[in-house]
Each structure stands twice: as C-alpha cells, then as structure tokens.
Symmetry: C2
DNA sequence: AGGCGTTATACTTTGGCAAACATAACGCCT
DNA sequence: AGGCGTTATGTTTGCCAAAGTATAACGCCT
C-alpha cells in the first residue's frame, strides 16, 4: 500500500484527450459523442437535443470539424423529406472509429496509472 | 500516409492529466508547477508571482491539496523571519516526483498517438 | 401554394468563474 | 513599539464563453 494515497482508493487518475487541428480543437470526447448521435438519429438537431445541447452549439461544432478536415465529416441537407437531415460521411465514420480507439487506449492508460498509485514500492 | 489527416502534420493528440481526490481535483500540471516553485522560492506569494497567478488563487490551490492529502504537502509559517514562508513537506516532495513521472508517461503516450495518426494502415 | 422540420447564421442575454480588491493576523527584527 | 513581508480569508468586479432568442432559407409533401 502506498503511503501518499489513502486506503479507500479515493485518488484516481483522470484526464481529457483530444485531437488539435490546424485552427482549433478538432475532435474530443464531446464532439465524438455528437458525431455518433448524428449517425444514429440522422439529424443535428435531434443529436443536440439528446445531449442537452443547443442546436447552435452543435452546429458550431460540426462547422468547426467540417472546415478543418480535408473532407467534411458530416453531410447536411436543408429542406427535403422530413425537413432535411445530416449524416456522417465516409471520412466522418472513419474519424469516429479512430478516435474511439484512441479514447479506449487512453482509458486503459488511466486505469493503469490509477493502479500504480496504490502499488507498493 | 493517412487519408484523414493532412500532409503537414497539422493534427496532434493533446490532453490533460490530473489526479482526482476525494473532494475535488487534487493534483494536475498547474498545481505541480506551483509546488515546484514553492520549493525553489520558499514562499507561496513568490511562486504565485512567478506564474502570473494571484496569491489568493495559489493559496486556495495549496489549501485544496493540503486538506485532501493524508498529510499536508506544503507547510507554511505566517510571520517570522522575512515575514514567513512555505516549503514542501516530505509528502509534498514525493507527490511532485510521482506526478512528474506520471506526466512524462502521459506525454510519451500523446507523442505515440500523434505518430499513429500519420502511420499508413 | 402553404406547412413542416430541418439547416444556417446573426444578435442579445446570462451565468459562472477567474481576477481584483480589501482586511486581518502573525511573528521576527530594528 | 512599529514596520515589514508573509500567510489567511471574505467580498466585489469584470469578463467571456455558453445559452438563449430571432430570422431566413431550403426542399419534400399534401
């Protein structure tokens, strides 16, 4: 047992991981979740509502990702059947898959570091 | 070369790492730097000034760390020679060393993930 | 043609939090 | 005793990012 950190595992390694783009933050856990919900709901507004996020904020995030990436991650249509909608592009689906994997490796790293806090020297 | 991320290495994995304590954030890169400067300057106020941080904020951070840890990380004296001062305790020095190492492993992880963005599949 | 739900974008308001300000206490030192 | 630089703590101010409000355009569908 480690001397510094208390016996009841009250200390844990936490963190945030994201990909920084040419202009701005490009993709983090929040944007990832938004992309996933756009994929399942077929619309930015429904994805935003599910996350308790304003449509404006969601749209700004999508815009930030689309303008930074070589190819847009989300394709949109204003008007049409059901008023329009949005979907992931090929590049969008690929970005989701890659960042999910990166995030999983990060969570393994954090679990490892938390364990290390309590291992005897 | 990867299809998603542009040719000029404009995308990089970034992140923040910290140790969450029983009540609150316990130790991150900002608090670490503060502790290190307390060690070298011998005072909270000088450490804060070096970092462009208000004394109050620095004191609040020290207080948060001292109350969460089993033993205080920083010992202080109000009044006395030169008005008083502050120093790292044994536990404080140990916390600095351990978190420095954790942060170094994290930076290696980030460099690895950045490289992975550009490796061919 | 008009309705609907969506995307698209500008403008205004608000809330939370960091910074600034203020004050007291402490204990050596001259 | 009084000054000094520090710790210790409460209160106020200000800022800016987030949220909210408003409006327009789009294109299927009845």
């Amino acid at each position: 047992m480690h001397e510094l950190f208390a016996e009841n595992q009250a200390f844990r390694a936490h963190g945030r991981l994201w990909i920084e783009g040419p202009a701005d933050r490009f993709l983090g856990i929040g944007r990832l979740e938004l992309l996933e919900r756009i994929a399942t709901t077929g619309s930015i507004s429904r994805a935003a509502k599910e996350m308790g996020m304003s449509y404006k904020k969601a749209w700004d995030l999508v815009s930030s990702m689309n303008t930074q990436a070589r190819q847009p991650l989300v394709s949109t249509q204003a008007g049409g059947a059901h008023g329009g909608g949005a979907a992931l592009t090929e590049a969008g689906a690929q970005a989701v898959a890659e960042f999910r994997a990166m995030q999983a490796r990060f969570e393994a790293f954090l679990a490892d570091e938390t364990a290390r806090l309590y291992e005897s020297k």
